[in-house]
Point group: C2
Chain length 622, copies 2
């Protein structure tokens, strides 16, 4: 992968080039503009708290939107390829239209760069901090109590159902600062009281609890600003890499369920502790936590038996959205937080998928769009604002290197990119000698092998009798027991003194994995009656999607045959969806609505899926 990128800036008025520069990959577009001598205002000091630095990405790879992008630019701005230049890293060569400063609330026609209507997200986390001056009871005859004196200063619809921790501290708080106190409420429910004025201190955390990875981000609830973020491997992984093995581990065994639960709660508590510490935030001031995760992660987080989630018909125990005090989970590190779990749709379509829909706004889309999360337990969403279909697409561990002879995760020594002309050239992570191949490398290798005629559409490796290959390629076809294999890296160049090769069996494995996903896509297209050309946009999400060569994915038929320009990587949509629900109760309410509206398709129950699956195994067009 190249270490530098070229960023070219254009005048939005007339599309003429203003300047360009070469910067290190990952440099923000705002920094690149300074480097190139293009002036972009950054009123908030690069914190993503205003929209003065916004740009429009005219060409090249566009970064997935962040929460700041969404808050400042709104879903429409994001769809129109606007981004905050202070938040967007340049990861490949790109063309950027620098926007003139506008009045924060005004509209402006930007000739040559499309219309930009500010559609900022309304920040409404549901957490209200009110500063009141309440009088402690003064008169023995007056029939009152501490809490009644406080309630008298609050809106009439405030719930009288007050947590005990509030009662416990109230007598002191009420008398400490001559009655001046800050009352924090989640909707109509009081969640904390503090002496004095602490209204500025209002924080929340979004979590994406994935089977493989746990990601969290700490936000200021007044601005949405990210104050800290963390990611780590899900510590349940030692009891099984994938969902089914974890379900099996704890099946009909409440103690083992508690083991899994303890691991994830421990990590979430650690994340809260570390992020608040890093950001200099008091954990008592974390008032809202939103969690997105698949059904199994959701149930394990709550300590709910997952035994039957692993058995047909894979029914969840509960699907409704949940919002409960942290003490009930318990998340001891955020004692005052309300923990909100996004809703679930089915056993293998969880809150992460619902979050992904919110983040990508498929539910608002006029045209048909497709969201694909490639993973051990992938999901496919197809539709528009008219109708939404979803299915689970269990690809198995192939894309993580499982069940492939030289398969490995995307780590140093893994082939991640393959080029084939007269011979094979492999790009290896860390520029090290190859020791194996990762999922993105596998997809790329198979795509290039198809192009070179090493593989046919049915997935068969070249064999005598077929049109001959260039000599060097021909030489890479070797016997492998009763079958054959294709050598990607010869033993002499490899890191372990042996050939790194793809066997006929590995190819079959990839076909099954990709057919699980593309078969799901085809099934949903068939049910909805949508042809390939009707799909306006294909969005790849999840950790793996970031590394996939999009052309190759289309070439091997992992994705529908659409122009590569229609395909984009949209980032960790589960986390972004959780962040949106954190910052906006309207967005959280939307998650319930979507969960009610979307239709779940259970592929295994459809008689026609058998044929579709076989077709989906084909490695692209002949």
């Amino acid at each position: 992968m190249t270490q530098t990128v070229k960023v070219t800036f254009f005048d939005p008025e007339n599309s003429r080039e203003l300047a360009h520069c070469i910067v290190a990959r990952g440099t923000t577009v705002l920094e690149a503009a300074l480097e190139a001598g293009v002036e972009i205002a950054a009123t908030c000091g690069r914190r993503g708290r205003c929209r003065s630095c916004r740009v429009k990405v005219l060409a090249g790879e566009i970064a997935p939107p962040t929460l700041q992008d969404t808050i400042q630019l709104g879903p429409d701005g994001i769809r129109e390829r606007f981004r905050l230049s202070c938040q967007m890293p340049a990861v490949a060569d790109c063309g950027i239209a620098a926007m003139p400063e506008t009045d924060e609330l005004g509209h402006q026609i930007l000739a040559g760069a499309g219309t930009f209507a500010p559609g900022a997200l309304a920040l409404d986390p549901g957490i209200e901090k009110r500063v009141i001056v309440a009088e402690a009871p003064q008169d023995e005859n007056h029939q009152t109590s501490d809490i009644e004196q406080v309630l008298a200063c609050l809106p009439a619809d405030t719930s009288r159902d007050v947590p005990f921790d509030v009662y416990r501290k109230l007598p002191t708080v009420l008398r400490e600062e001559l009655g001046q106190m800050t009352v924090t409420a989640f909707h109509d429910a009081i969640i904390d009281v503090e002496a004095g004025n602490t209204s500025e201190k209002k924080f929340g955390i979004a979590f994406d609890i994935g089977t493989t990875t746990v990601v969290g981000s700490l936000h200021c609830l007044r601005t949405g600003e990210v104050l800290a973020s963390m990611a780590a491997v899900n510590p349940q992984a030692v009891y099984g890499g994938d969902l089914m093995s974890r379900i099996a581990f704890a099946q009909f065994d409440a103690k083992k369920l508690q083991v899994l639960r303890g691991r994830i709660l421990g990590m979430v508590n650690d994340f809260i502790e570390k992020m608040t510490k890093d950001a200099g935030v008091s954990p008592e001031h974390v008032y809202k936590i939103v969690v997105a995760g698949n059904t199994c992660m959701h149930h394990l987080f709550l300590g709910i038996d997952t035994s039957y989630v692993g058995l047909a018909p894979y029914a969840p125990v509960v699907r409704d959205p949940i919002a409960i005090p942290a003490g009930e989970i318990p998340l001891k590190r955020a004692p005052n937080a309300r923990v909100c779990l996004l809703p679930i749709l089915a056993g293998f379509v969880g809150a992460d998928t619902i979050a992904g829909i919110i983040a990508t706004r498929i539910h608002e889309s006029e045209g048909i769009r497709l969201l694909v999360d490639i993973g051990t337990n992938g999901e496919v969403v197809l539709g528009s604002r008219e109708r939404l279909l979803v299915c689970s697409a269990p690809a198995g561990p192939t894309f993580e290197g499982g069940q492939v002879r030289h398969g490995m995760r995307g780590a140093v020594g893994a082939i991640e990119k393959v080029d084939i002309d007269e011979d094979v050239t492999c790009q290896v992570i860390g520029d090290a000698p190859a020791i194996g191949i990762c999922g993105s490398g596998l997809i790329d290798a198979v795509a290039k092998m198809r192009d070179a005629g090493v593989l046919d559409a049915a997935g068969r490796l070249w064999r005598p009798g077929v049109r001959p290959l260039p000599d060097r390629l021909q030489a890479r076809i070797v016997k492998d027991g009763e079958s054959r294999a294709f050598v990607l890296v010869h033993a002499a160049q490899g890191g372990r003194g042996e050939d790194v090769l793809l066997t006929q069996g590995d190819i079959r494995q990839l076909q099954l994995a990709k057919a699980a996903i593309y078969g799901g896509v085809m099934m949903l297209q068939k049910i909805m009656g949508v042809g390939d050309d009707q799909i306006e946009e294909v969005m790849l999400s999840g950790g793996f999607g970031n590394y996939v060569n999009i052309e190759s994915a289309v070439r091997i038929g992992l994705l529908p045959p659409v122009p590569a320009a229609k395909v984009s990587y949209v980032g960790n949509t589960a986390l972004l969806g959780a962040q949106l629900a954190l910052m906006s109760e309207a967005e959280r309410a939307l998650s319930f609505e979507i969960a009610r509206k979307i239709e779940h398709v259970a592929l295994a129950t459809r008689p026609e899926f058998q044929d579709i699956f076989v077709e989906a195994c084909r490695l692209g067009a002949p």
Copy 2:
């Protein structure tokens, strides 16, 4: 105290005597009837579950009503002196009208014995156990979850806010008995699910958490029947016998507050464990717990800071009724119970007083009635259905033997009754040699000393110059330092080789204690404009009231000057009120209504109280 009593039975039709018998004190009236050859039906087998054995107490001491009396006979029946003969112990000679069997729902005119209209309490504990057959999700395409399948079988208003423990066990429960399960709800909220039909098993517990004593009773929620009961000394007592010393112990010290809290929670958990074990009831089947206690006990039970309850203006932190899952307290021994705390009125007028009002129905009374709880922290309630006044009447420890030279609690060796004619005769608990005097003995002694001329109305002991006393009495007046004392038991007869005597100081102490209570009564009478003759009934409640000689209490002016027939002991009304709220949500709702309606009088803030108090110190009429 005599060990046998005479029970005489009358024909209710013509008031002629049917038969009589002499039985051991404490024998139930039903057993006495069998002994006397009077036939009384006992359809339910003496469990207090029907009203076939009801009688009317025509003469003599009537036992305080039990929960069974209230359930079967209703408040009106109780006021009209009806009782269940299987529940009522004969504690003194009495006259009983044996009722003929009646149709359970019919009315009947009982000539000579008054009208008896069956007014049974409607049992409505708010706990519903529904047996349903729910189908586990069967179809992969059908968008559902375990809980949704269950909710579909329940009333539409059932809350979707389900406790986690239910989610945790639901998958197994739903699949264990082919979907047959029992769902327990408190109003619209699910609190438990069990496989199969367990609808018969529905229990609850009432607690009176007093400063001195903790009493609990376990009931069947279908019938009200008492299955077990327990009483013990409040284990907080080691940190202070009275409220104020406990408040002082934990004042501004959260750790010590936790110490007090831990003690009471430990005892309540022990009670639950032992009572359920004794009754052979599974603790999981205890669904409702009602707690009555004074403000301090209430706050300590919940772990709420009592620092300011002990400082003027003695405001509680919260007064609202509370109903929360046992896990939030936590009461681990009754994991599925909803714990309901009756409401509070003021710092020294707590849920025990509200419970006492419910139990005695003052709020429904046409005429003016007076409820007096004599104790270290006594309360006085005066009123009718028109208006209710309450005040706290802190008598201090005198009635428990405190601040009296030979004062002691009511234990073996305590003088409990005194007679004076030519000389003094003392009755001692356990017929042992006297070692001291308890509260009821003190009241009796002072009353008899007044009658004999040993004391004047101002509380002065006889002194030379006043009308002479019989010789033997005269001889009992001895010098005591600069003051005098009256010898109740001479050293030779005493248990410790010293005179048991009452000093002039002891008399003063009693005057202050009784003035605290009677001053409260006078103050409430004055505010309400009620003369002594307008008071229809005086009711003594609390543990101490049981031992007081009523004539003596009236004689010394602890109670207003009303005929002794108007005064009765009504038992532990805090517990009975809690039991009523346990068995009936309407009664629990009534407690909120009463708490809102009743007016609190803070004696110390009334300028006229000074004069009233001085007047209240007088030991009855000249």
